[in-house]
C-alpha cells in the first residue's frame, strides 16, 4: 500500500486531489469522499473507497485513518497505527482558517512525515484579509479596467472567491472556463461561492470594473487579451518574494497560500513534538536545519515529483 504514489500502483492512499499527489490509473484508491469526487472530475470515472474524516479501517494489521489537513477541499492527513506506534503523513497542509475546507486537526504521533513547500524563514504569509483588501482596493481604483487573478484551479481559486464573499464583495465574479466544473463541485459540497459568470465570450464592456479569476497559465496567454485593461494579480505564497513576482510579470502580488508557512511548519513540530520527523518535499534542507537547532530528530526524504509551482 502506497501513500500519494507518483506512479500508478495497485493500492493507493491519496491525501488530496492535487495532481502531484493524486495520480490517475491506480487499482484501488482510499481517499476522502471529496478527494474521490475531485479525482473523478479530473480523471473520469475513477472508483475508490471513501474514507470520511475520523473514520478508519485496517489493512495488514495497520490501522489507517484520515484527518483534516486544511489544505483544500477533502485534503487529509493519514494516520497509520501499528503495535502502539503512530505515524502521521500530513500531505500538504495549512493552519490558517479557510472557508472552503475543514480545518487542520493536530494529531498526536511518534513519527511526523511533513511537507516543507514554504520551509524557509522568509515565508510568513500575511493575514488573508490584508491581501483581499489589496485586491478590492485595486479593483476600486480601476473602474474602467479589471483585475485578473491567477489562482490554481483546485483550491486557491475557490478560496479567493469565498474570501471575497466573506469580505462583503457580492458582485458576480468572472471565471475562466477551466474553473467552472471545480467551482460547481465545491458548491455541491456546500461551499457557496456566490454568482459566478464565465468570462469567455463576454464583451470587454461587461468585464469593466470586475474581478476575473483564471489559472496562472492563462495570465500571459492569448486568452488574457480579451480583458479590458487588466491589472495582473497572482495569488500564491511565492509572491512573498519580489523577484519571483516580477519574473512572472505580476503587477499585484497577493500572498495567499494553501500551504503552511515557516511559523506554521515549525509551530506544528513544536506542538506535536514527534520523536522523529521526516520531511518529504520543499525546503527540506532549511526545515532540517531548524530541527537540528531545536534538537529534534529529522530526516530529509526529498521525494521527487512533488511541488507544483502554481499550486503554492
Amino acid at each position: 500500500m502506497w501513500i500519494d504514489p507518483s506512479q500508478a500502483v495497485a493500492r493507493a492512499l491519496v491525501t488530496h486531489g492535487h495532481a502531484d499527489h493524486a495520480r490517475s490509473g491506480h487499482g484501488t484508491v482510499w481517499a476522502t469522499p471529496e478527494t474521490l469526487a475531485i479525482m473523478a472530475l479530473r480523471y473520469g470515472t475513477e472508483m475508490g473507497t471513501p474514507v470520511p474524516y475520523g473514520d478508519g479501517f485496517e489493512a495488514n494489521g495497520v490501522k489507517i485513518s484520515f484527518h483534516p489537513a486544511g489544505h483544500v477541499l477533502g485534503s487529509a492527513q493519514i494516520l497509520l497505527e501499528h503495535a502502539g506506534e503512530r505515524v502521521i503523513v500530513t500531505g500538504d497542509y495549512k493552519r490558517r482558517h479557510d472557508p472552503t475546507c475543514a480545518a487542520f486537526e493536530p494529531v498526536a504521533c511518534d513519527v511526523l512525515i511533513t511537507e516543507a513547500t514554504f520551509g524557509l524563514p522568509v515565508f510568513n504569509h500575511p493575514p488573508i484579509e490584508d491581501e483581499i483588501r489589496k485586491l478590492l482596493d485595486t479593483r476600486n481604483a480601476h473602474p474602467d479596467g479589471c483585475v485578473v487573478v491567477g489562482a490554481y484551479a483546485l483550491g486557491k481559486a475557490q478560496r479567493v472567491i469565498a474570501e471575497l464573499r466573506r469580505a462583503g464583495y457580492d458582485a458576480p465574479v468572472f471565471i475562466h472556463g477551466a474553473m467552472q466544473k471545480m467551482c460547481d463541485l465545491y458548491e455541491a459540497h456546500g461551499v457557496s461561492l456566490g454568482e459566478l459568470i464565465p468570462a469567455t465570450g463576454l464583451a470587454k464592456g461587461e468585464l469593466r470594473g470586475g474581478i476575473v479569476v483564471a489559472p496562472p497559465s492563462a495570465l500571459n496567454d492569448r486568452w488574457a487579451r480579451r480583458l479590458p485593461e487588466p491589472v495582473t494579480a497572482m495569488a500564491s505564497g511565492w509572491m512573498r518574494v519580489r523577484q519571483r513576482a516580477r519574473q512572472r510579470n505580476v503587477e499585484l502580488p497577493l500572498v495567499i497560500s494553501d500551504h503552511a508557512d515557516w511559523n506554521e511548519l515549525t509551530g506544528t513540530l513544536l506542538e506535536l513534538r514527534p520523536s522523529e520527523t521526516w520531511i518529504t518535499h520543499g525546503r527540506t534542507d532549511a526545515l532540517g536545519r531548524w530541527c537540528e537547532l531545536h534538537q529534534l530528530k529529522a530526516r530529509a526524504l526529498d521525494l521527487v515529483g512533488r511541488e507544483d509551482e502554481d499550486e503554492g
Binding site: L120, V122, F123, V241, R242, Q243, E251, A286
Partner: protein
C-alpha cells in the same frame, strides 16, 4: 512610513514609465512635509544617511539569525535587505509605525556603531513591507527603476510645473525640499537662488555620424578628453560639479581656490603635460581623484590640473544662457581674461575654411587629449540636455597600424578556454619585432575561433599561461592615440588598442615600423 512602503512596493511592480510617474506624483501630493521631501530625496538618490552602511544590515542579520538559515534564505531571495525584512519576526508593540521623517532624524542622530540597534528598534515597529522600505531608505539604494530625472518629472507633473524649471532650482535645494513643495503648491515664490553656488544642467551634444554642417552656421572647437566640469562661484563660495551634477570641489581644491571670477562656466578638466592633456596615466589619475573627499599635496603636484573653458552660463548674476553661442563666446573670452592663465585657458576655435578642411584638420590631429571635434550652432542658446540640431560631437577616426602577433594568453570569463589576449609588435630599427601593445577586443566570435586555432598550432614557446607564437600573422590594430612610454622597450604605448582586421593576406615583413608609430605621437 506605510504610505512610502506602499509606494516603493507599487514601483517595484509597475513597468510603465507613465504609471510610475503617476504613482510618485500622487504620493507627493497626498503626503505631508517633511516626509514627502525625504521620500523624493530617496527616489532621486540625494538622500545620504552617513551612519548606515550595508554592513549594518548584515551585522543585524548575523546577530539574530542562524547563519545557515540566513544564507539559504539570502540565496533564495537574492537581496540582503529583502531577506532581512522578510525573516524579521512581526512584533506586537504598542509603538506606532515611525514616519519617514522620524526614521531619518533617528538615523542621522546616531553613530555608526549604534546604528544597527536603532535600525532594529525601528524594524520592530513595522510590517514586512515597511521593513523592506526602511532598509532601502537607510542604505540609499532604492533600486525601484527610478532615475533622478524621473523623480523630478513626477514632482513637476504632480504640481503642474515644467521639469526644466524644477531642474533649474533643484541643485540649489537640499532635502527635505520644503521650499520646493511650497513653490509647487503655490504657497511661495520660486526659491530664491541668489548667493548660492549650485549646479546647472549641462548642454550636451549628439553624434554627428555621417552628417555635414555649414561652418557659417556652426563654430568648431576641439573636443578634449578630460573630465567635463562646471564651476559655480558667487564670490563667497566656489563649487565644482561633474557631468551628473555631483559636487567634486573637494577633489580639485586647487581649481576652486584659484578661480577668482563670479559666475558659472563650463569646461574640461585636464592635466598639464607635454601634450596639454597628459597621457592615459594622467587621465586615470584625474578619474581617481573624482570620488575623493581630500587630496594630498603630492597628488596635486604630480598631475597639475587646469580647466579649459568651453562656455559661460552666468557672468556675475547675469544669465547668459538665453544668448546665442557667438555672444556667449565673446563674454567668455572677456571673462577668461581675468583668470589665472596657469589654471584656466580657453578652448581654441578651429579655423577651417570649410567642412572638408575641418575634416582634414581633424584627421591630422594627433594630440592624445583630443577626442574629436565639437560643432556648436552659432545662434544656439545654452540649453539643458541633448537638443537636436544645436551641438554635435564628431569623434576622431581611430588611427590604425599593421602589427605582428607575438604572444597570446587565455581570456577570462566565458573566454577562458580561448587564447583571446594578444600582444603584438612592430619592426624596430635593427629589424627585430618590438611589442607595442596588447588587445583583446575587436574581433568576431568566428575570428576568435580562428585566432585560437592559430595560436595553438603556431606555438613556439610557453611561459606559464603565455604562449609565444610564430611571427607570421599581421593584425590591423586601431587605436585612439600613441604616446611615449618608458615602460615599453619600443618607447611607445597605444591608447585603447583593438583589433580592427585580420590581415592574413599580408606578409609579416610588410607590417609597420616602430618609427611610423612614433611619428603619430601628438
Amino acid at each position: 512610513m506605510q504610505a512610502f512602503a506602499a509606494l516603493v512596493d507599487a514601483l517595484v511592480y509597475t513597468r510603465s514609465r507613465d504609471a510610475k510617474i503617476r504613482l510618485i506624483a500622487d504620493y507627493l501630493r497626498a503626503t505631508p512635509d517633511p516626509d514627502r521631501g525625504w521620500a523624493l530625496a530617496a527616489l532621486a538618490g540625494t538622500l545620504n544617511i552617513a551612519t548606515v552602511k550595508a554592513s549594518a544590515i548584515r551585522a543585524m542579520a548575523e546577530e539574530r539569525f542562524d547563519p545557515l538559515l540566513f544564507r539559504m534564505s539570502r540565496d533564495y531571495v537574492g537581496d540582503t535587505a529583502e531577506t532581512v525584512a522578510l525573516m524579521w519576526p512581526d512584533q506586537q508593540t504598542a509603538k506606532a509605525p515611525p514616519s519617514v521623517a522620524e526614521i531619518i532624524d533617528l538615523l542621522n542622530a546616531t553613530s555608526r556603531a549604534r546604528a544597527p540597534s536603532v535600525l532594529a528598534e525601528l524594524m520592530d515597529r513595522l510590517d514586512a513591507d515597511g521593513r523592506y522600505a526602511l532598509l532601502k531608505l537607510a542604505t540609499g539604494g532604492m533600486r525601484v527603476g527610478i532615475s533622478a530625472r524621473l523623480a523630478k518629472t513626477a514632482f513637476a507633473q504632480g504640481f503642474g510645473l515644467s521639469v526644466d524649471d524644477v531642474e533649474e532650482v533643484w541643485h540649489a535645494l537640499r532635502p527635505p525640499y520644503a521650499e520646493l513643495f511650497a513653490w509647487g503648491e503655490g504657497r511661495a515664490e520660486r526659491p530664491n537662488l541668489a548667493d548660492s553656488a549650485f549646479f546647472r544642467p549641462f548642454m550636451l551634444a549628439h553624434p554627428l555620424d555621417d552628417g555635414v554642417v555649414d561652418l557659417s552656421e556652426f563654430a568648431a572647437e576641439w573636443k578634449w578628453d578630460g573630465i567635463r566640469i562646471q564651476i559655480a562661484a558667487t564670490g563667497t563660495e566656489t563649487r565644482l560639479f561633474s557631468r551628473g551634477g555631483d559636487e567634486v570641489t573637494a577633489a580639485f581644491p586647487e581649481i576652486a581656490a584659484t578661480f577668482t571670477g563670479i559666475g558659472v562656466v563650463d569646461g574640461e578638466l585636464l592635466v598639464r603635460g607635454d601634450v596639454q592633456g597628459g597621457e592615459a596615466a594622467s587621465f586615470n589619475a584625474l578619474q581617481q581623484r573624482l570620488g575623493r573627499k581630500t587630496v594630498t599635496a603630492a597628488m596635486q603636484a604630480e598631475y597639475p590640473v587646469f580647466v579649459r573653458l568651453y562656455d559661460i552660463l552666468f557672468d556675475g548674476a547675469e544669465d547668459m544662457r538665453g544668448l546665442g553661442w557667438t555672444q556667449r563666446r565673446d563674454r567668455l573670452e572677456r571673462f577668461a581674461a581675468g583668470l589665472d592663465p596657469a589654471r584656466f585657458d580657453l578652448s581654441a576655435l578651429i579655423e577651417a575654411r570649410d567642412f572638408d578642411h575641418l575634416a582634414e584638420l581633424r584627421g591630422a590631429a594627433r594630440e592624445a587629449a583630443i577626442e574629436g571635434v565639437m560643432l556648436k550652432r552659432r545662434d544656439a542658446p545654452y540649453l539643458a540636455g541633448r537638443k537636436v540640431g544645436l551641438w554635435y560631437k564628431w569623434k576622431r577616426e581611430p588611427l590604425v597600424a599593421d602589427c605582428v602577433m607575438m604572444y597570446a594568453q587565455r581570456g577570462s570569463g566565458k573566454r577562458s578556454s580561448y587564447y583571446s589576449d594578444y600582444t603584438f609588435g612592430c619592426w624596430g630599427e635593427d629589424g627585430t619585432l618590438l611589442p607595442v601593445g596588447k588587445a583583446y577586443s575587436g574581433f568576431s566570435d568566428t575570428e576568435l575561433k580562428w585566432l585560437d586555432r592559430f595560436v595553438r598550432t603556431n606555438t613556439v614557446a610557453r611561459f606559464g599561461p603565455v604562449r609565444e607564437v610564430e611571427k607570421t600573422l599581421v593584425l590591423e590594430v586601431a587605436f585612439d592615440a600613441v604616446h611615449e612610454s618608458k615602460r615599453h622597450k619600443s618607447g611607445i604605448a597605444m591608447r585603447f588598442p583593438r583589433i580592427s582586421r585580420l590581415r592574413r593576406d599580408k606578409p609579416a615583413e610588410e607590417a609597420d615600423k616602430v618609427a611610423t608609430l612614433k611619428a603619430m605621437i601628438g
